[in-house]
């Protein structure tokens, strides 16, 4: 078979009926502005930590909403809490608090 240099993506099915959305619920409860995110990526574009490593607040939010709590928690560790994303956010999402809540969740999970 001719190798075209790309393959079929591995199956990535997310069953939201079965996903563990506890982290998403807890964060939405403590920080309602989490719901406002439109995933525009301004936060990731401005991110200080993102200059040095693969870190995206936007992606972390996706992980949370998909119930992928472990990935979200691992991702959140890279944040320096500098607060640039909060200022860049066009939807006034309280990003620093979301990071804090995810980090706190690490201790309870």
């Amino acid at each position: 078979m001719v190798n075209f240099g790309y393959t079929i993506l591995p199956v990535h099915i997310l069953d939201l009926d079965k996903a563990d959305l506890n982290l998403a619920k807890a964060i939405t409860f403590d920080e309602p502005s989490f719901k406002l995110c439109i995933a525009c990526g301004s936060c990731s574009a401005t991110c200080t930590a993102g200059t040095f490593t693969k870190f995206s607040f936007r992606q972390m939010c996706h992980h949370i909403k998909r119930g992928e709590s472990t990935q979200a928690i691992d991702e959140s560790e890279k944040c320096m809490l500098c607060g640039k994303c909060t200022l860049a956010c066009p939807r006034n999402v309280n990003t620093r608090n979301i990071i804090r809540l995810v980090r706190k969740a690490k201790q309870t999970l």
Binding site: F52, M80, C82, K84, T86, L87, R100
Partner: protein, 617 residues
């Protein structure tokens, strides 16, 4: 009657008072010994080194000025100061002069402690004695002095605004009980002395007429003993409750003033000095009005007084620990001078959110090499006009600088530190120290007060650190920059981290005076309001931050200034998102706009609105 030959007089009603007094005396002495013994070796050495120096009389003077006169409360409001002074100084003088009075009448005999307190009960006919009129008059005058204060305290419960307080502390039940006892002591003394004066036609200008009034309206024969019992009981109740209530501040503040004078301060973790500070809080509530979370957002249950109370008795809730912008306005107004910000910072450290591997990814990165290193920081990168203006001025002055974090930098660590993540902040600090040292700079200039604060406090760099307002002033003084003074009216906003944080108030003002007319707002310098953008708080929304920002801006622009100058990129950004009408600019932008050399002036349009700079000539 020969008082000298008299045996120690006694009546059972003195017992409640005496028991209370003995209890509070030994409790307080015990606490003091416990606190001092647990201070740690370094602190005890400090005490021994300083106790026989001038610092001791200085501390005595401060105790007199703050614990008795209440100078700092007077500064807040004269009526409030009088209220506190009348109770503290009045009661103190009543005790001292009461003792002298009884010593005088008993020819210098040492009397039991209750004797001066209930002297009128034991000795009715004082006027016929030598100087009797003088003593009774003095004691009546002091009682009146205290009663006016108590009256003001009653009044303050219903209407606190005339005493300069918008909001007062919500007290716990045991405080209310002690407060009731305290409020009853002096009216009951007046009542007991009045009844006695009525029975024996004694007393001076206050107790005598009241006694006559009682004699004609009340069955004073029946009230004689009960009145003295009630007075003693109120005193005893107050003394027994004192150690467990806010009134513990009365003895503890004295210890605090001495310890502070001897150079003892808050450390990286809570110590017994913290316990002394916590017990010194009188919950006067002056910090409540200073807190913008309360005045601007209506959050009135999380102010420093509640945080301190909660920490003294128990463990504060997360809400109490987190709800603070760390603007340090409460530190500024606290009449006791408690280092609230440090206590709160130490309390926040209990929560560890990051671990030692969190920032492993930062390696192989270098800052540009430089002589004068300019560091704009994260917030600076969000407000490019600030660093552009600063660097244009550096160019003009011929400074051999390098913009070391032009391609980005790691965070200085202050935002983590403000969130209590001291260990995580240390990782960033260590990395950043290496990066800064490796760039070979001899001077570090930053536009960001947040960075400047932690550079100054935690970095231990061997090179001088300047905020750009300080450095630009230095350049102006060295005649490397000349500015055209115009008649533009500028109000300067002191950023929290630069002002209360680092004590830089004068340099930005001096600099701005070279460009225009500086007019002060009503809360400037140490009393400056926070812009609301604080990185010290995470549990308020952006909308709430905008509310704080617009209230602060209204206050800043109330004096009809043409432009509001700030020296912090975060303040600028926060203000900008809150208002479209008020012109806001960083100090460097204003300076660039008034530079004499028109060739480099880039017709700077501050916030898209051209400032019409009229030459003063």
């Amino acid at each position: 009657m020969d008082l000298h030959a008299m045996h120690f007089p006694y009546h059972p009603f003195v017992l409640p008072f005496t028991i209370g007094l003995v209890f509070v005396f030994f409790y307080v002495i015990g606490k003091w010994i416990y606190w001092i013994s647990r201070l740690g070796k370094d602190d005890r050495i400090k005490i021994f080194k300083n106790i026989f120096t001038l610092k001791t009389p200085q501390a005595v003077y401060e105790v007199f000025m703050e614990c008795l006169i209440h100078r700092k409360v007077f500064k807040k409001n004269a009526l409030l100061g009088y209220m506190h002074m009348s109770l503290a100084l009045g009661w103190f003088l009543l005790i001292v002069l009461g003792n002298l009075e009884t010593r005088y009448f008993t020819h210098g005999r040492i009397n039991p402690p209750y004797f001066p307190i209930f002297f009128e009960f034991f000795e009715h006919d004082l006027i016929s004695l030598n100087y009797g009129r003088f003593w009774t008059f003095t004691m009546d005058l002091l009682l009146l002095f205290i009663l006016t204060g108590v009256g003001l305290a009653y009044f303050k419960r219903f209407k606190s605004k005339p005493l300069g307080m918008q909001k007062t502390t919500k007290h716990v039940p045991i405080d209310r009980l002690a407060l009731t006892a305290l409020w009853l002591i002096f009216p009951l003394r007046l009542f007991a002395e009045g009844v006695t004066a009525g029975l024996y036609d004694a007393g001076s200008f206050l107790t005598n007429p009241i006694g006559n009034l009682f004699a004609s309206t009340l069955p004073i024969h029946y009230l004689y003993y009960p009145s003295w019992w009630a007075y003693s009981f109120a005193l005893g109740t107050f003394f027994v409750l004192l150690p467990f209530t806010r009134y513990m501040h009365i003895p503890t503040e004295i210890l605090l003033i001495f310890l502070r004078k001897y150079g003892i301060a808050e450390k990286d973790i809570h110590s017994t000095y913290t316990k002394v500070e916590l017990s010194s809080c009188s919950r006067c509530g002056i910090c409540i009005d200073a807190c913008q979370l309360g005045s601007d957002l209506g959050i009135v249950s999380t102010q420093s007084t509640y945080f301190i109370k909660s920490l003294r008795y128990d463990k504060p809730s997360d809400l109490l620990i987190d709800s603070c912008m760390v603007c340090k306005r409460c530190d500024q107004v606290c009449p006791v001078g408690i280092d609230i910000a440090s206590i709160r910072a130490n309390e926040r450290k209990e929560l560890h959110l990051f671990d030692e591997n969190s920032y492993k990814y930062i390696n192989g990165y270098r800052y540009k090499s430089a002589k004068v290193a300019y560091f704009t920081g994260c917030m600076g990168h969000l407000t490019p006009s600030v660093y552009k203006a600063t660097l244009a001025l550096f160019d003009k002055a011929g400074v051999d600088y390098n913009f070391i974090d032009k391609d980005g930098s790691i965070c200085c660590g202050r935002p983590l530190q403000l969130s209590g993540q001291e260990d995580a902040a240390k990782q960033l600090i260590e990395k950043n120290i290496k990066l800064i040292e490796n760039c070979g700079a001899t001077i570090l200039v930053t536009s960001c007060p947040i960075c400047a604060k932690i550079f100054n406090d935690n970095y231990n760099l061997k090179i001088p650190i300047y905020h750009h307002s300080q450095y630009l002033l230095k350049l102006a003084k060295e005649k490397k920059l000349t500015f055209n003074k115009t008649d533009i009216k500028i109000t300067y906003h002191d950023p929290c981290e630069l002002g209360r944080g680092l004590g830089v108030y004068d340099e930005p003002r001096e600099l701005l005076k070279l460009a225009g007319n500086l007019i002060e707002s009503s809360n400037s310098r140490e009393n400056s309001l926070c812009c609301g953008g604080s990185l010290g708080i995470t549990n308020i929304s952006q909308e709430q931050r905008h509310t704080i920002a617009s209230i602060t801006l209204d206050e800043l622009s109330a004096n009809k200034a043409d432009i509001v100058a700030t020296a912090c990129p975060l303040c600028k950004k926060t203000f900008k998102s809150a208002s479209e009408n008020i012109m806001i600019a960083d100090i460097s932008e204003i300076m660039l706009d008034s530079i004499s050399d028109k060739s480099i002036k880039h017709n700077l349009k501050i916030e898209n609105k051209e400032v019409i700079v009229k030459s003063s000539k």
